[in-house]
């Protein structure tokens, strides 16, 4: 019994599942379910179907090159049986699995972290461009507040850069959390302008 991978989506094909198709040039295609089989029959490129692993690797969304992937490659040389080898392989599999999933998750987190920074930058730009909708142009010291916010975010970006450079070890997570603690809390208080105050007094 052997767990195969689906040709189209790269998920595991468990025994009793899926379809096996043999081309006359001796190439075997295994499919995990009819969705993949039908896509193959329609001659769709798996690299273009967004839900397949092939696309994710092609688009750089998942980890592609890593030493942990070398262990899973199929080798065509038969190995002489020894119980020790089996036991060691079993233990190694568990370890490698852990390391590989950790690295894959880190790769994804690195990608997503960039997204949060981009969103913060976009928010900042939005504030700068549309602040006039919120606060009157004659209001006192609006730019100072924005500068404070920018400074704080720059400091956090530094911390983020540190993290991506070094990698997630215990030391850097400690550093990161320390930086987070030291970074100033951003409190944006909207001060009422003179005209607004006058209006409020008049209303009372």
């Amino acid at each position: 019994m052997r767990l195969e991978t689906c040709y189209y989506c790269s998920s595991t094909v468990w025994p009793g599942h899926g379809i096996q198709f043999v081309r006359n040039d001796c190439k075997i295609f295994r499919f995990c379910r009819s969705r993949c089989h039908r896509a193959f029959k329609k001659k769709w490129n798996p690299r273009k179907s967004k839900w397949t692993k092939a696309h994710r690797k092609f688009a750089g969304k998942d980890l592609t090159t890593d030493a942990t992937f070398e262990f899973e490659k199929r080798r065509n040389e038969p190995v002489k049986y020894s119980r020790e080898l089996w036991e060691n392989t079993y233990e190694a599999i568990e370890k490698i699995e852990k390391i590989r999933t950790k690295r894959e998750r880190h790769h994804i987190m690195k990608r997503l972290r960039q997204g949060t920074l981009d969103r913060k930058a976009a928010d900042l730009r939005e504030v700068r461009d549309y602040i006039h909708l919120v606060r009157a142009p004659n209001a006192t010291k609006p730019m100072e507040e924005i500068e404070m916010v920018q400074k704080a975010i720059a400091k956090r970006e530094e911390a983020g850069e540190l993290l991506t450079k070094v990698g997630t070890t215990v030391a850097t997570t400690k550093k990161l959390s320390a930086l987070r603690r030291r970074a100033p809390k951003i409190e944006v208080t909207m001060e009422t302008s003179d005209t607004e105050q006058m209006v409020a007094e008049v209303m009372e």
Partner: protein, 151 residues
């Protein structure tokens, strides 16, 4: 019979629903089915290039039921082919029809290997992969012997 019995419209009411049923496409191998010979014998090589593709003329099947058997050949069945104007026996080695048994794959083409009347294959090599159960079945052992790859 099988081919023509598929699309028989009984009544077509365009106002209400269409009332004919269709079977899924069946790639059964029966009389007149065109077939791809996977040998390296001379007859096979000539036959594949001949003006007419090699065809099944007859399927050898035991009459197990009291009713007539449907002469449809599957993996491992013996058939009579018409190749290059001659009649030759052959064994079906790959089927396009999806066979719902575990570990039996479906093939690209309907592959066939030529044999003589004793059951010995005429060629010396088979150029396509062969299903693995050929190794275990006694009557197909001779074909498994000259096969190169198993699936």
């Amino acid at each position: 019979m099988n081919i023509f019995g598929k699309l028989l419209p009984t009544t077509i009411d365009f106002i209400t629903h269409r009332s004919f049923s269709m079977t899924i496409p069946l790639y059964d191998l029966q009389k007149v089915s065109r077939v791809h010979v996977v040998d390296n014998s001379k007859l096979a090589l000539d036959g594949n290039v001949y003006k007419r593709m090699p065809r099944i003329i007859h399927c050898y099947k035991k009459n197990n039921n009291l009713t007539r058997t449907r002469l449809i050949a599957g993996l491992g069945d013996k058939v009579l082919l018409a190749i290059k104007g001659q009649m030759k026996k052959a064994i079906i080695v790959g089927c396009r029809q999806r066979i719902r048994k575990p570990n039996v794959p479906q093939f690209d083409k309907n592959n066939v290997v030529l044999i003589d009347d004793d059951g010995n294959p005429i060629g010396t090599r088979i150029l396509a992969p062969i299903p693995a159960f050929f190794r275990t079945r006694g009557d197909l052992a001779k074909i498994a012997a000259i096969a190169t790859t198993f699936v």
